[in-house]
Symmetry: C2
Subunit: 130 residues, 2 copies
DNA sequence: CCGCATCCAGAATGATACTG
DNA sequence: CAGTATCATTCTGGATGCGG
């Protein structure tokens, strides 16, 4: 999305603007409501559809299906169908999906460490408007 | 608006998933269409409204305003108004906003390193459906 | 059990015009 | 220059019912 220069002081290993624009879709996927939560849950091993559904509280069947499809399309998750009765479908992280956990957890760590600051800033901001 | 659709309901502080769920709003912010790009642009120092607008190609005036307000509310950026004529408003990262750049860049690095894998997986997935 | 299809309400975003 | 206001459009996510 960025056509201008993306000079980030110092350590940024920026190979070019083209790549910067390309990472937007990736961030969009990670930023959606459920993807990261699902990836994190799958970090412990393969899970069935309804197992994931129970682990990720509040997700609807529809969104679980859609999100898993998206992750599968991106090569983050494999989908294995066992044609048994009743049917069974396992979802498991690919190596790519597993490699994602590290930077995501770094972000999670940051979020946990700074959550109170953020919430405090929000409260202060909101009260300033009153 | 930008500030999420999360935690509207008073959810029980669940010990197991509680931690994971708390970071969702943070990830939701990073995943929105513009926040990360703006934070990255501000990494080089304070910028004026229209400077940012030019650097982030494709953003509308409206979304730039909204996103900057959200970042300000979260304590990521400061907004400084100079009551000159014509008016001038500078946006600058706070220490909190600057500290966010590190984990975000880790994610960006991961994204760039794996972009080809993702795109290949997408093409393969799409062709399998045809 | 898995999950697709459909419908629908509301949110997010964009385009455009206007203001101090 | 830096917004605000309004309208139109697109997108998201939940609910429900059906089908393998």
């Amino acid at each position: 999305m960025i056509r201008g220069n993306m000079h980030v002081t110092g350590e940024a290993p920026d190979p070019g603007q083209g790549n910067c624009r390309k990472i937007s879709p990736v961030l969009a996927r990670l930023g959606d409501k459920w993807s990261v939560l699902i990836v994190m849950q799958l970090g412990n091993g393969p899970r069935r559809f309804n197992e994931i559904r129970r682990m990720v509280d509040g997700i609807s069947q529809r969104m679980l299906t859609l999100t898993l499809r998206g992750l599968e399309r991106d090569g983050m998750v494999t989908r294995t169908v066992y044609p048994t009765i009743p049917p069974r479908v396992d979802y498991e992280l690919t190596p790519l999906g597993r490699s994602l956990r590290e930077p995501v957890q770094a972000l999670g760590t940051w979020a946990m460490a700074n959550l109170d600051k953020i919430e405090m800033a929000q409260r202060e901001f909101d009260s300033r408007k009153a």
